[in-house]
């Protein structure tokens, strides 16, 4: 076994080049990462600078924006008559989101439990794609589904108690939209629970229900909660479904049978509307957008904190 030429020569490549390449690559990759930060900066800059056109108007006060109970930016073309109180939009958003969560969280969680604890490989192999298809259904489609199927069904069931456009049908459609997300993220979290815990539970004589509910779900709680928060963010930010199905009248109420213009719904209406660019009414959409941004940012922060706080204890 003679030593091969390559090792006799021992002419190793200088490392200078790879070091240089490494530097350039790190620089480029860092630039990519920086871009994501730039996007956030861009969003904040845009929202702040454009909503300045709103808040600097004499007709608008921050206090009024936060506390007034009417929002008529789209209804009033005269500035004097326009009311800019975010609460009705917020109430609409919360109603729709709440209903969506009522649908998505339990259904998503139970489906996730089913997938991670019970389903055989074969069932998983078609149930998961099915859920993925639901997740992939364009939101426009779900919006029309809400108008054409959900809302009439609700009216039929309730004997007409529901308005044509109402928070509930939009909420249900948004819930359907969020369900796969809750499901797949919770399932991930539950699958990350080590087998040893399940074995521990079964070893003590747990039934599969007890194992799932008393051991796996609590152990995966941080992941499940962050799935919930993500779904919540998604529901809050969902646009096309609510633009189509929730109605366009901002109402400050808890009544789920009534119309509920949401923040995103308002933004899209304002964009589509023929309200003129540059008016205070037009700029109000940026004020709404900034509120929306802050809410989702808050959600992210809460999610991060929960993850940090509770995930560590369990590793």
């Amino acid at each position: 076994m003679s030593v091969p030429k390559a090792l006799q020569k021992r002419e190793f490549r200088s490392t200078d080049l790879s070091v240089l390449v490494e530097r350039v690559i790190v620089f480029m990759l860092a630039a990519c990462a920086l871009t994501t930060v730039l996007i956030t900066v861009g969003i904040i800059y845009m929202l702040v600078s454009e909503s300045a056109g709103f808040f600097s108007s004499e007709e608008v006060t921050v206090k009024g924006f936060l506390t007034d109970t009417e929002w008529t930016a789209l209804q009033s073309s005269e500035l004097e008559n326009a009311k800019f109180g975010i609460l009705p939009l917020l109430s609409g958003t919360l109603r729709v989101t709440f209903i969506a969560m009522i649908i998505a969280l339990p259904l998503g969680l139970i489906t996730a439990i089913y997938l991670s604890e019970f389903a055989s490989k074969r069932i998983r192999s078609w149930l998961k794609p099915t859920l993925e298809i639901i997740a992939g259904v364009p939101t426009v489609v779900l919006g029309y589904f809400a108008i054409l199927v959900i809302s009439p069904s609700l009216q039929l069931i309730s004997g007409g108690a529901f308005a044509t456009f109402n928070a509930t049908s939009a909420g249900i459609a948004v819930g359907i939209l969020c369900l796969p997300m809750v499901c797949s993220l919770s399932e991930d979290a539950m699958r990350a629970v080590p087998r040893s815990l399940r074995e521990g539970a079964y070893g003590l004589g747990c039934t599969s229900f007890e194992t799932a509910v008393k051991v796996v779900v609590p152990a995966a709680l941080s992941g499940i909660i962050s799935a919930f928060l993500l779904a919540f963010s998604r529901a809050i930010g969902e646009t096309m479904v609510v633009a189509l199905a929730a109605g366009t009248l901002p109402t400050l109420t808890a009544d789920p049978t009534r119309q509920a213009q949401t923040m995103t719904g308002f933004i899209v209406e304002m964009i589509k509307s023929e309200s003129e660019y540059g008016t205070v009414q037009y700029y109000s959409l940026y004020a709404v957008a900034i509120t929306l941004f802050l809410i989702t940012f808050l959600m992210t922060l809460v999610g991060q904190i929960i993850r940090r706080r509770y995930q560590e204890s369990y590793q």
């Binding site: 789209l74 209804q75 073309s77 044509t164 456009f165 366009t248 009248l249 509307s273 023929e274």
Partner: protein
Amino acid sequence: GCGPKTTTATTDSTTAEATSSDPAGSDSAGSGTAEVSNMSGTIKINGSSTVAPISDAVREKFIKQYPNVTVNVDGAGTGNGFKDFQKKATDISDASRPIKPGELDACRENGVQFIEIPVAYDGLTIVVHPDNDWVKTMTIEQLKKIFVAGSEAKKWSDVDAAWPAEEINIFAPGTGSGTYDYFREVVADGEGESLRNDMNLNEDDNILVQGVAGNKYSIGFFGVAYYEESKDKLKAVEIVNPEDGTAYLPTTENIASNKYAPFSRPLFIYVSTASLPRAEVATFVDFYLENVSELCEKVGYVRLPEEIIAKGRENLDNEAIGTHFVDAEGNKRSGPLAANFKAENLTK
């Protein structure tokens, strides 16, 4: 009047000759049909979403003959259309109402000159739920009670004591739309009057149809085209003509003859004169006028009387710049189209 075919033929030969940029018109009868045009370029149109289907229909027919010409038709609304127009971002602005004095001023400031051409009639239809058995006709006064802010008819019985004491649900197009503007102009014409702001507004007329159809105590208004398609779900209200005191339905005849007053409204295109030297724009506008009467009916509108079309063409040929709906003092002119659309009313 004439059938569409003859109309096309006559206008073709008369106007083509006169159009400054089309020298070949007189020979058109003998040739041209065989060969596809090599004309190219891009034409940008924005404005009324009501007019957009008409412009789009014209575009569609136009590019069959002129396949290399790109025509962008956007329907961001009359107001936004004029905004773009003032910024010189479009060649043609669609409008479902005449230009307003403020918009005219802005055009002047930016050095934008235009030719105003009416292209079709739209009937603004007031609709109620088909099960609504108490409303058959309405007067402007009654509409005022329902729609104007401050008059506060919350319930039907507030309008007429004989009507049910149920809350009125109102569905209307968005505030930026020409339709909303036109309705407000007619109904809330007093000093400081405006439409109430608890209506369900939506830019999507289909949503309005759904809204009215879904509630027995609702009322709404939108273009006649949408009503025509949803006759089974909605009931149109007869409107009492303030002139003759008779109630009329928004039928084609009533709209064209302006009996369906005051809600027959004309639709316009505004053509930038700066764009007219461009062969593709000139050809397109010419084509527009040739075909609009036929095409507008296909998309649900009412054709204009031949004289008005001819007048529009004349304005185009003569580069008669300006609007007929703002007077020299900068005040708005209102009234029927035929009354205003005269050479002496033209304000640059």
